[in-house]
Amino acid sequence: MQSLSIQLPQVPDIASLDAYDADLLRDLYRRMVLIRQFELKVNDLFLQGIMPGTIHLSLGQEASVVGACLALEADDVITLTHRGHGQALAKGVSAAALMAELFGKETGCCRGRGGSLHVGDMAVGALPAIAIVGASSPIAAGMAFAFKRQATGQVALNFFGEGAANKGDWHEALNLAAVWKLPVIFLCENNLYGVSTHITEVMAIEFVAERASAYGMPGSTIYGNDPIIVYEAVKTAVERARAGGGPTLIECLTYRRGGHKRDDPGTYRPQEEMEAWFKTDPLPAFRARLLADARISLCEIEALEASVATTIDAAVNFALDSDAPAIESALEHIYAD
């Protein structure tokens, strides 16, 4: 692997796609496009003032979440962050149920109780998101603990941002996972910033993955804007986990296209840095690679993109047409029976 730096993106040499199944490549791209279009639409709806709540978009980070999720099986589980739409879609949460959730509708994936910060669907292995930075890492370890105890062969993948690596919960989780050799992958989406704060201001080391050795687990830093690179790294970690080898820490270097959340223009980021990273936008890059592959035609790609657009339109209509939860249901689900 080429050496990476935390300052400006270093795009590694691109391996040929020949070794990969065309269906996998299509699926990677389709999910990336789904996230991209979903997020752009959400942004629109927000600007129009139609959508309630607050929103953290994952535009620009599609390759990391899709590459990671496609390295998992359907019954493996992920935990999501405050920036969870992309993670949810990558794992297979329905765009319609996700959109309805953002609108607080009864048909939402969490019956409208969660909202953007808490999206997820247990049916596809996406634990409704935890918005407290760092808090999901022990919970992911706990799900992995249950898998190990019950010998189900499943793994858990914990998404977190580089900012979370400075939380105590994260530290305790990595240690527990290492000591008990739990089948969990700690997947850092390092987009260089926690809100407006650059990683170099909050860590005196260069990479989050350097911390892996403090727990006795393998760690690696990879270029996160190529889904294949992420897919490969996660695949290796998953195999290790399933074989009883314990946890792995994987750090994907990526970049968000917009601000931290809707009311943040992101202008604390230096122009040079933004330009350099925006050039590495994972969507056009992966699209170009696909087109270079003999097995996938432009026509097919365009059809795929159009079909995603239809899906998104349908999702919006579904969400808008759905009912809000009944007021009488407000006190349901506080306690289980």
């Binding site: 669907d121 634990l127 022990p138 919960d169 305790e172 689900h333 506080i334 289980a336």
Partner: protein, 346 residues
């Protein structure tokens, strides 16, 4: 190795202490359900109050797990394990350390079910030694008070071996997070001070029984005044009530047993009968369950009262180490007695 009366033989059941009753409950539940396991610091040798003494021999290291000192980590881990179908029990050395895992409990554990629209449930029991026991302020918290206002949690504060066993078994079978708070002076673990009253050791039936969460219990019927007290304070209150009985005053002593859900109706029924209410709790006077109960009675049954609602609690102070001062701030029998007599004059 620490020793204690781990599992009394069925044939010659003597009286049990609370920790013996709890351990018996735990053992029965672990035998009944493979999914139940227990984790915590140093529980392999029994934990701080010998709750898990001897369990590793029967259930193995897989189900009796020593953890690192990582409370937020292992609470979060237990949450995740519960979400995936296991039924963890966390043994805290002292309930006081739970504050280092507070966010996991109130933001995740108590809310994930609701936020997910009911997709998940978190069956998880916290075994929490609570209250003051001569160790200074950081080991003397009435932890139940701090969690009292958090929706999504259940809170149990048993006072007798019988209640402890029946409630613990219900807690393990409950599909919600349950904080099981036992006063440090009530376990009766070897080497620990045990509060004395007629019920601090007691007969526990050999046959299985469950006590539902959320039902209060009249520990001593009476007609002149209602006294509500839990945990250690129940024992002091009963001692006072028994003494007053001899002096011709009939105190009804109600043990809420569970703080959440709280059996307010039983207290109302009692107050309808007696027209007078005293509430005794060890926690600080400000913001405890006693205030809530007083508020509920003032909202729903004020018309039945002939006098103010008086509360006996610790004043708003951290707990001092000095035994002289600790005794002075924590409610004792004299203060309970004095308050009852004062209220009878009002």
């Amino acid at each position: 190795m620490l020793t204690d009366n781990a599992a009394p033989a069925q044939s010659a059941r003597c009286e049990l202490t609370v920790v013996q009753a709890l351990r018996e409950a735990l053992r029965e539940e672990m035998r009944r359900d493979e999914l139940v396991f227990v984790l915590g610091e140093d529980i392999r040798i029994g934990g701080s109050f010998l709750f898990t003494l001897g369990l590793v021999e029967e259930f193995g290291l897989e189900r009796v797990l020593n953890t690192p000192i990582s409370e937020a980590g292992f609470v979060g881990l237990a949450i995740g394990a519960a979400i995936q179908g296991l039924r963890p029990i966390i043994d805290f050395q002292y309930g006081d350390f739970i504050f280092t895992a507070f966010d996991q409990i109130i933001q995740q554990c108590a809310k994930l079910r609701y936020m997910s629209g009911g997709q998940i449930s978190i069956p998880l029991v916290f075994q929490l030694p609570t209250g003051a026991s001569g160790r200074g302020a950081q080991h003397a918290n009435s932890v139940e008070s701090v969690f009292y206002g958090i929706p999504g949690l259940k809170i149990v504060t048993p006072a007798t071996p019988y209640d402890a066993k029946g409630l613990f078994k219900s807690a393990v079978r409950d599909n919600n997070p349950v904080l099981f708070c036992v006063h440090k002076h009530l376990y009766g673990s070897k080497g620990r001070k045990l509060a004395e009253s007629s019920i601090s050791r007691g007969h526990v039936p050999a046959d299985e029984y469950l006590i539902p969460l959320g039902k209060a219990d009249i520990k001593k019927p009476g007609s002149d005044i209602t006294l509500v007290a839990n945990g250690l304070m129940l024992h002091l209150s009963l001692n006072v009530a028994e003494a007053l009985e001899g002096e011709g005053l009939s105190v009804e002593v109600v043990d809420p047993r569970c703080l959440a859900p709280f059996d307010t109706q039983l207290v109302i029924d009692s107050v309808v009968k007696t027209s007078r209410l005293v509430i005794v709790e060890e926690g600080s006077e400000q913001g405890g369950w006693g205030a809530q109960l007083a508020a509920d009675i003032a909202g729903q049954a004020i018309g039945y009262l002939d006098a103010p609602i008086l509360r006996v609690a610790t004043p708003n102070t951290p707990i001092p180490f000095s035994p002289v001062l600790e005794n002075a701030v924590i409610p004792d029998e004299a203060r309970i007695r004095k308050t009852i007599l004062e209220l009878m004059e009002m």
